[in-house]
């Protein structure tokens, strides 16, 4: 592979260097696939959306502003395609993206403090496969807009500014949505682990 940047590869591609595009696709094969699998909860769906995203990159290559970073642009496209996929599949109502942050309407509010909740983040004696099943259950059950921002921030290591660019939301919303996503994830993970432990205690024969 060449040492050229992503941006240089895309510019080379739109200038007619056909071999630059496969190199770009290969670079993101693992990262984007994993992001989409976590976002969509299924490898097959992730593969479809991966192809849609790169098709869009190909179609929009002319409009790419080479002074900006390629990665946030790609993830903007991929996240949009993933949301479209959700809508097409009617797996989640489109309104989930407009769910009010903190619209409690009398619902119970819990204040998460990560230090005091920290014991729930260790493996809690779970087998590797049990951990994986629980993690999938918890990540898949997060509302789409929380899952998306958590993955972009932690998994893709995008900065708040890049996330704001990718999702086309203001910086303040990135912060409040990410805080809410971390709190929600922490709460769900703790609940899932204690639920699993309770089940194991009631049925000890399933534990080694």
């Amino acid at each position: 592979m060449s040492a050229r940047t992503d941006e240089e590869l895309l510019v080379a591609y739109r200038n007619g260097e056909a071999s630059a595009f496969p190199e770009l696709v290969e670079r993101y094969q693992t990262d984007l696939s994993q992001f989409l699998t976590r976002f969509l909860g299924s490898r097959a769906s992730a593969d479809d959306v991966f192809q849609d995203a790169f098709l869009q990159v190909h179609l929009s290559a002319e409009s790419f502003d080479a002074s900006r970073r390629f990665k946030p642009w790609l993830y903007t496209i991929a996240a949009n395609k993933a949301r479209d996929f959700h809508r097409r599949q009617k797996r989640r109502a489109a309104v989930s993206l407009s769910t009010p942050v903190g619209a409690t309407d009398g619902r119970e509010t819990s204040l998460v403090d990560l230090i005091s909740d920290g014991e729930a983040t260790v493996d809690a004696g779970l087998l590797e496969t049990e951990q994986q099943t629980l993690v999938k259950e918890v990540v898949d059950s997060l509302p789409a807009h929380y899952r998306e921002i958590l993955l972009l921030s932690y998994f893709q290591r995008l900065s708040y500014n890049q996330i704001a660019d990718s999702l086309q939301i203001p910086l303040g919303t990135v912060k409040s949505r990410l805080h809410a996503a971390v709190a929600h994830f922490s709460d769900s993970w703790r609940s899932a682990v204690s639920r699993h432990q309770r089940a194991s205690d009631q049925n000890p024969s399933t534990n080694p």
Binding site: F50, D105, L114, A144, L171, T173
Partner: protein, 334 residues
Amino acid sequence: MSHAEDERSDPSTPQRISRLSEADKAACDRLLEDGLAPDAAPRNEREAALLNLLEVIDRYPDGEPRSDLVASTLARIDDEEAKRQRDWTVSPDVAEKARLIRLPDSFAIAAALLLAVSIGVPLYNQLDSRQEIASSQMRQQAIGQAIAGFASDNGDALPIDLDLFGSDGAPTPANTPAGHLNPVHHPWSSHLGVLVSEERIPEGMLYTKIEAQANGERGQRSLVAYRVPFQISAHRFAGTYKPGSFLLGDCNPVIEAIRQNGQPCDSGVGANNHGRTRLVVINFRLETSILRSPWLENDSSSTEDNIWVAHDYAHDAATETLTPEDHHDTVLAH
């Protein structure tokens, strides 16, 4: 789709809302704001707890990517390109026929153009009006989301800028006399300015620049009206108002008329930006509606409520009666 999936994405499903403590929010921002460094080392116990939690995501069982993913992606792009090429190719026969336009064809084309204009102009106006409605809906949806985010970060409080009360004697939020909130004299939607300063929305979403004023200064015009509280201390996102009650709307035509001419207009009309025939509003559930009239059924007292003015508003009684009478009296002002 499983029922469980339905439930988790339904915003009306009762659920517990989790919030990070302020210390955790700060730790989160320190670690993630500039992008998580690959070799990020926690500086304290709190950051370690956060990283510990997030590392859980690494255990997600996503397996190895499909070995032919790159090849199939490139093949798909080739297919799409080939299809596009086919769609854009004009066969030689068709191109030849296109050159043979005769005089009768010209009359037919002129007639068709005339017909298109006679249908097109009203259609264009209709589309323009729909675009205005869509624009109001999108604006209110974005501001509504930002208000919800603000409330989430501020213990459910709705945006209020106390500095804006300075000239009225700076009432305290705990017990603000309703008289200070008369929106006729108060730039009520300016309280949303905090959403701009906190970068939750761009300024252009709240205001539009207007050309030179009578005094020669350039100014700005509000684009949205905001719920006027009966009491500031109870101006909260949840608890005070009914979820279906209105949070934002188009600019209030009664207030616009008073500010421009010193006289109110008919309070039964729609918003000025929709030709006074419609208005767009958004409720506390962040659902937008297009109304033909500002009159609403008021559940609590079986009377009607006009959202441009207060319950006790009397058209002849001049301009001092736009202050809400209680928490259920909807008044949207800018």
